[in-house]
Symmetry: C2
Subunit: 199 residues, 2 copies
DNA sequence: CCTATTACGCAACATGAGTTTCGTATTACT
DNA sequence: AGTAATACGAAACTCATGTTGCGTAATAGG
């Protein structure tokens, strides 16, 4: 079952990803130089390109490691569950945003990854797959709350989650503001309670 | 009052922006080559760099021209006004998204601009300024509706607009889906009416 | 008219991403 | 043991961005 030729040195992947992560954390996305990673890792540039076709792909691999697996919890209280889930997503975003020391700047690494997704089909697909997984989890959570009568029967679950997740991304990417638990709570309250005067 | 030295050839700006727009529309963001723009425009590369410090800045200048000035209309019906405004924003996003012919792909030009904003402080500031202007308009619109009793008194206007605009951006950038009037209506309905079962 | 100032074009250059070529090393299969 | 297949390393290469230096053109002010 093992492939024919010489097997890949698996230690290389480990070492390269660690060094690349350090470079991004230290100098930001732009400071991630293929030549420098290769030199510090003690491998040839061709060895890197055999694993990651572009610098963007390497960066995505680095960030993917930092992302927790965002498991969802269903306590039966939809408000608390949504806030928890948003906070998990926000934590991942903040971890990217602050990588590279450009605290107050703009979107930071998160923004560059959106650019990478726009440049490369496959990275875009990856991002969309991750979104789809999140979306499925969230929609199921919302649907359960709807069935037990916590939420309106004629709810638009997709629109609801787009609003919540979208506002998080919007704030981080466009406005560059931080997102914390307090903001997540504001979002959930606003979305759940609506804005019309109650008749 | 005129500056001391030789004045800039203003025709150059016009010509370059037109050519750059054509290149982006034809081959996408990556297909925008400084050398090629310079050649087609019949100017030296240094002349381009005197006006736009990087390729990203040139691209931003091109796209900025395509953006309508998003004036807001206040008819007194907050639901219709919000849908209209979202549709205007979405139209701008779609115009960027489809530039370059990569219809179904990912975020397209819009995503690359987020990357540009992440790479360059000043572009990020520009984007945030535009956001701030939009935000101010929308918040004023919402506030007027609140004061005339159309919306709840304890409304969180900022959260409301973040949700609406955020969902639009989220959908275009991350999921790559199109945004049309129908989607804008779903968003506004969901946000205004809320998700809780009405007590 | 003369000078300081700025714009323009041209060519050379520096840098980093990504590719290509080739010789060598490591593995599976026969 | 021999062979095909794959990985690795090293060096040279291509290409586009962005920079630098210099000669020349255009403008305002003295």
């Amino acid at each position: 079952m093992a492939p024919r030729g010489r097997p890949r040195d698996t230690q290389v992947d480990e070492r390269v990803l660690r060094i690349a992560a350090a470079l991004i954390a230290e100098r930001g996305y732009t400071g991630l130089s293929i030549d420098e990673v290769a030199e510090q890792a003690g491998v040839a540039k061709t060895t890197l390109y055999r694993r990651w076709p572009t610098r963007d792909h390497l960066a995505v691999a680095v960030v993917a490691r930092l992302q927790a697996d965002d498991e969802i919890t269903d306590t039966g209280d939809i408000r608390a569950d949504l806030v928890d889930y948003l906070e998990k997503i926000a934590a991942g975003l903040n971890r990217m945003r602050t990588a590279g020391g450009r605290e107050g700047a703009s979107a930071g690494v998160a923004g560059e990854l959106v650019g990478a997704a726009a440049r490369h089909e496959d990275i875009g697909r990856l991002a969309r797959d991750q979104y789809a997984r999140r979306n499925a989890l969230a929609l199921a959570l919302i649907e359960r709350a709807r069935l037990r009568g916590e939420l309106r029967a004629d709810l638009d679950a997709e629109a609801l989650f787009d609003q919540l997740a979208g506002a998080l991304y919007y704030r981080v990417m466009i406005t560059g503001a931080a997102v914390d638990r307090a903001y997540a709570e504001r979002l959930v309250s606003s979305a759940l309670e609506g804005s019309l005067t109650c008749p």
